[in-house]
Amino acid sequence: MTRRDLFSRFASGLQGAALANLFARDMFGAYDLKAKAPNFPPKAKSVIQLFQNGGPSQVDLFDHKPTLEKFAGTAPSRDIVNQIEFADQIGTMLPSSFKFSKHGGSGIELSELLPHLATCADDICLIRSMFGEHFNHEPSLYLMHSGRTLPGRPSLGSWVVYGLGSENQNLPAYVVLDDPKKLPVNGIQNWQSGYLPPIYQGTRFRSEGPPLLNLKPSEELESPLVEAQRSLLHRIDDAHRQARPGNPDLDARLASYELAARMQMTATDALDLSQESEATKEMYGLNQDATASYGRRCLMARRLIERGVRYVQIFIEYQIWDAHSDLEKSLRYSCGKTDQPAAALLKDLKQRGLLDSTLVIWGGEFGRMPISQTRPGQGTAGRDHGPAGFSMWMAGGGVKRGYVHGATDEIGHKAVENRVSVHDFHATLLHLLGMNYRDLVYERQGLKERITDQIPARIVNELLA
């Protein structure tokens, strides 16, 4: 029996499932965030999710469809019409106005809108055959982040830190870097822990000002004063605890206060970009208006991953990819904000040797239609939502590099070849982190809950390096 056999046998049976549930608890039965061993040796240790709310247009960015030009201006089929959000604004087949060209040794075809990503073509694993279940934002976001089209279930990041804990007990295990301008659709529900214990919820770090809500009092106080306040509380709490032995809750509470104090240092330090070189800041685009905000968050993500944070999720201003009108202008704006920082993140991780252990994922809740949408009085044409086929890319820990997986039909509407469902995507991500998605279970009221439950899911082996 090989080592691999041993692990897979260990991981697939009930035994593994029971262990997964036990792993997350400490000796007192309380849930914690200590690092836990995965089911089998992982390919990636941490994840950075670059979530693109709104639905980036695959046929304008990743999925070149010359055929579409032949049909320019013709009416769409019923099956396309059936999936449109605004059935009263249906236009005609709309080929992309952007040029595509092949890049790197792998020759991955990308749009001119992604010049920076193009220089990383040989590092990405592009999936062109993703498909979702709903044509509207909210349900599709719930699906992408939690595996169901309804609110209330644990997010992917929560599952990951429930299964693996964190390498750094002085920072939250699951950090969310949302855009200071506006929260994504569904707001805080995107990183809720649902029925998982609340400690697995994502913690919002702000990319401007103090990183964490109430990390420091709003008044600037001298450290001796802060110290004196702290020791006063500690004295009161310590006396209380001494009188009540055998209550691990109180130890945990004391520890949480100590962590809170330490976090003032660690979180501030983690997000202090002044420690970075000018070259690095320039690479992320911190010196340009368009890229500065997203660039800061990408750079912060790298610093957090370096410090052992397990899961970092970066959001971009509300749903800027939602190009219902003015497609060209809108895409130039969105790409102008994100392309350089995302590519810089890949390069930076690579040069620091972190890309092998970090999985970077880029994508939205769906793609867009190959047909146009016209809103009366609203600029030029846009595209409506397209959940039937869209593109996402991954890079780093455990996935093939310079590889393209799957395909949509000839007009870029529906995924037809090697289709990858959102559930497949979740299963594959957990696999890369060393967990079997079937064994990552949480017992609730006697029932075993999983991210995919009984929904068909498959680890997309073709993506694995």
Binding site: I90, P217, L233
Partner: protein, 928 residues
């Protein structure tokens, strides 16, 4: 414009389909070469001719036909195919090697590339009509006199003759109009949340009519098979009625204050344990105050109780607390959690506020305060509208209003179906499913929701039972005849309130009308310009269109539009009742939905309750209480509130027990099924359940019994012996040390610092998001702040303090809360501006009260915050700390310009630091 376009579509459709390959997906995985060999090896041993579950997996057509539980696959849709689910979940094959991921992939690929079935029946077209047509050709509306719901009504047709001509699709208006794209009318699609039919659906309708439009034979009646629940299933303890056991006689007879103690002691004694020592008098005082009212005792309460030497001082105290108006605000909240109470609709990003939901919140609080018998409480909430013929009532009595408001219980789950892009059949069914989840988790203690897509895997709940329960709601929540949540209100309100709202709104509305007219005047030239530039002369030009197109219009009208928006904000909600009520008339037919999918009609079902729950119970028999009311929900309420119902009373007393003692007798309070926890004290549970009924379902009597037991009065101190013999405290060998929940912390802070505004009831207090992101309730130091239950419970803006302390999201409800211990809690308590301000006011009041006596200030701070006097040592230490802090504050204040004398200011801030420490201390946030 769109109609023309659709016609073009039709013409192009056939041309494109013939010429271009991307229209039709070619079969990538031939059945014979890849799939058949795999099935041969893995499945055919059992599923061949006359196979298990009548399933024959030899050919594509036999697979599509399926077996006992419906088709094995859904062509083109592997995500919704039973066969795939079975192999993925590894439940099939039951023996031998499971399928590898790659083998599963072969199967999925094959199913995904399979084109849909050839044989069509009414069962295939009915869902299409239901999804796309009945909104205008159904129960409430019959456009053109046409009703497409039944075969008879389709044949009868409308004003222009029969809708279908069997055998002749091209002569059938239904087919013609759908195929040409005329129907459903493109312009009405969005507002009705209808999508146009797919190519396959149009083809299905054609085939069905060509085949003679056969009426349905294939939807079997539910009576055919009821074998899924056996007598053995009914033997499970939770499905048997509770039987009142005799009260045991434990050895420590003197420790028994009431029968609860006898049951507990008997079990403790079997492990050589007895009750822990009684809790100290003031410990018990604080415990029972927080438990029954959610607030700590005030210094005067502590003083009075300390001095009360009567033997029944504690019992008197309990009676007082149960009569306090604060009691309903505490215990009502638990029920609101179970109902999934929220002031917003959720689902959609805007998280629309539900204007009148608070009336239901007030109903619940009042019901608890009045000790409304639980059977009545439940009946009103499930079927209040069927208790009174409100439509024909001469007068709007408070009693009538109350019964209608009570049905808000079934209107609390997330509901985004008001939005056209989230209002399809699927999302409507999700709302109904959430409401069933509320009923089943809070009243039945069963995971009925598991049976939405398949028979329950562990409990004897066939899929049919889910749809029978769902049918009970169908006369009110009819997915085929939907009312949006924003319109599902009853226009009843007390005259005074109605007038008051109208009087408030009238001048505002007049003002808005005036401003709008002004705006329109400015818009007119732009409208003309817009129209002149547009090719479509019938276009409806919205204000937004003008704003988008003409920057000068935007600039010119900015103030005016802002003024309108601000004035609109001042409008109050029209007083209405957010109720669930009968739609009247004959409800649409209910079906079992195979795989839980709206388009997969299975057998027709009648309203009913879980088959397994029948022992000793009168059957579920709906009868209209008055015309236009089906009686379905009233019958459910009557059935649930039978005194010997095996679950209703057990589930509810178990939850009361859980809230008082920290864990339920059944530790899984929403799952009494096989996978739930077995009761730790089954006899006690049954005794409590029967005692509850004996005392006329009085909640307060039950709680009085629980909190006056010796068990409840135990100390929480853990000795090594207790830790060893009862490590999880399952035997209740002590009271657990418990952290306050979110609301207890929030409300207690306000109570201690005397900033609590005791105003009860009414519309919720608004919340605001501070620049740093903190969400706080709007309040003022003058009026104080209201209890958290009266603060707006919007899904997307929970109060930061509550959220930090594990306020659960309502999705759809919460039966048992989680408790975490994490750093953000510490940050919130030690660093937030909110608590700093409260602590300063607290300290300020102490200084005002004892101006020259720091020791008294400290003593009072302890008494007020912790409900006990400070020890001399504590006072001494605190005074030393305050001195030290005051010096440091003085240094700090030197750097700032201050008007007040620095010495006074710094002492005040130092005392504030002590107050804040007390309010964020473990002693404050935990209950002994």
């Amino acid at each position: 414009m769109c109609a023309i376009q659709m016609t073009v579509t039709k013409v192009l459709l056939f041309a494109i389909a013939a010429l271009f390959p991307w229209m039709a997906v070619s079969a990538a995985t031939p059945f014979d070469t890849d799939v058949a060999p795999l099935l041969q090896k893995k499945c055919l041993p059992c599923h061949s001719e006359k196979g298990q579950a009548n399933l024959d997996l030899r050919t594509e057509s036999s697979i599509l036909r399926g077996g006992k539980t419906g088709p094995a696959i859904q062509a083109g849709n592997s995500e919704h195919s039973l066969l795939i689910e079975k192999v993925v979940s590894k439940s099939m094959p039951p023996v031998g090697d499971k399928l590898t991921d790659d083998q599963i992939s072969v199967l999925r690929n094959w199913v995904d590339h399979l084109t849909p079935a050839v044989q069509v029946t009414e069962a295939d077209v009915l869902p299409i009509f239901q999804m796309r047509c009945v909104v205008c050709h159904g129960k409430r509306k019959q456009e053109g006199g046409l009703d497409l719901r039944t075969q008879a009504s389709r044949l009868k047709g409308g004003k222009s003759g029969p809708a279908i001509v069997p055998g002749k699709p091209d002569a059938s208006p239904v087919y013609q109009k759908i195929a040409s794209g005329q129907m459903p009318p493109p312009k009405l699609l969005v507002e009705n949340a209808v999508r146009p039919p797919t190519t396959a659906e149009v083809e299905t309708i054609r085939k069905w009519i060509s085949a003679g439009a056969p009426a349905v034979q294939s939807l079997p009646n539910e009576a055919n098979s009821n074998r899924l629940v056996t007598e053995k299933d009914r033997q499970f303890w939770a499905f048997q009625p509770p039987v009142r056991p005799s009260v045991p006689a434990p050895r420590h007879a003197s420790d028994v204050r009431n029968p609860i103690d006898a049951f507990l002691l008997q079990k403790l004694e079997s492990k050589n344990l007895a009750f822990n020592t009684p809790a100290a008098k003031l410990t018990l005082l604080r415990r029972v105050y927080l438990d029954l009212t959610g607030l700590p005792p005030a210094p005067a309460d502590v003083d009075a109780y300390s001095k009360d030497r009567r033997p029944d001082a504690y019992e008197r105290l309990v009676d007082r607390l149960l009569e306090s108006p604060r009691y309903g605000e505490r215990w009502g909240k638990f029920w609101l959690d179970a109902a999934g109470y929220s002031d917003s609709e959720g689902i959609i990003d805007e998280d629309l506020v539900r204007g009148n939901a608070w009336r239901y919140r007030d109903y619940v609080i009042r019901a608890f305060n009045q000790d409304k018998p639980f059977n009545q409480f439940l009946t009103e909430q499930i079927a209040g509208d069927e208790l009174v013929d409100y439509r024909h009532a001469k007068q709007l009595t408070p009693d009538l209003m109350e019964k209608l408001i009570a049905t808000g219980f079934l209107r609390m789950t997330p509901d985004g179906t008001y939005s056209p892009s989230n209002g399809s059949l699927v999302e409507r069914m999700d709302v109904i499913s959430d409401e069933l989840q509320v009923i089943s988790s809070s009243v039945l203690g069963l995971t009925v929701g598991c049976a939405r897509c398949h028979n329950h895997k562990y409990d004897p709940i066939p899929q049919r039972d889910y749809y029978r329960l769902s049918a009970i709601l169908q006369s009110a929540y009819d997915p085929y005849d939907w009312v949006k949540p924003t319109e599902r209100y009853l226009d009843y309100a007390p005259e005074g309130e109605r007038k008051e709202a109208a009087a408030h709104n009238a001048p505002l509305e007049a003002e808005i009308a005036k401003l709008k007219a002004e705006l329109e005047l400015k818009a007119k030239p732009y409208r003309e310009k817009f129209l002149a530039a547009s090719t479509d002369k019938t276009i409806v030009i919205k204000e937004e269109d003008l704003i988008e197109k003409y920057p000068e219009f935007r600039m010119e009208t900015a103030d005016l539009r802002e003024n309108i928006a601000q004035t609109k904000k001042k409008l109050v909600d029209k007083p209405q009742i957010r109720a669930l009520y009968e739609m009247g008339g004959e409800p649409s037919q209910s079906y079992l939905l195979r795989r839980g999918e709206a388009q997969q009609l299975g057998e027709a079902v009648q309203p009913g309750v879980p088959t397994v729950l029948s022992v000793g119970l009168k059957p579920y028999e709906p009868a209209p209480p008055f015309p236009d009311s089906s009686g379905r929900r009233l019958a459910l309420a009557r059935w649930l509130t039978q005194p010997n119902h095996p679950l209703t009373t057990r589930v509810f007393v178990n939850r009361m027990w859980m809230h008082h003692f920290g864990r339920g007798i059944v530790a899984s309070p929403s799952n009494f099924g096989r996978l739930g926890s077995a009761p730790s004290h089954p006899e006690l549970l049954d005794w409590l359940a029967t005692e509850f009924v004996k005392n006329d379902w009085s909640i307060k009597s039950m709680q009085r019994l629980m909190v006056t037991s010796a068990a409840y009065r135990q100390s929480s101190v853990i000795t090594p012996d207790l830790e060893k013999l009862d490590p999880e405290n399952a035997l209740l060998s002590r009271m657990p040390l418990r952290r306050m929940d979110a609301e207890q912390i929030h409300d207690s802070i306000l109570s201690v610092t005397e900033d609590l505004n005791p105003k009860a009831f009414g519309p919720p207090v608004a919340v605001e998001t501070k620049p740093a992101g903190e969400v706080v309730a709007v309040g003022s130091n003058k009026e104080g702040f209201r209890r958290s239950i009266y603060v707006l419970q919007r899904r997307t803006t929970p109060l930061t303090l509550l959220e930090a302390f594990d306020l659960p999201p309502m999705s759809p409800n919460c039966i048992e809360r989680a408790y975490s211990t994490v750093a953000p809690q510490a940050l919130e308590l030690t660093n937030s501006d909110g608590l700093r301000d409260r602590a300063r006011y607290f300290a300020g009041r102490l200084i005002d009260e004892f101006p020259a006596d720091p020791a008294k200030q400290v003593g009072r701070a302890y008494l007020q915050a912790l409900g006990r006097p400070a020890s001399p040592l504590e006072i001494k230490q605190a005074l030393a700390d305050i001195d030290r802090l005051a010096n440091l504050w003085q240094d700090h204040l030197k750097s700032e310009k201050m008007d007040a004398p620095r010495a006074t200011e710094s002492r005040w801030f130092a005392l504030s630091d002590l107050c804040r420490s007390l309010l964020s201390s473990a002693e404050f946030t935990y209950i002994d």
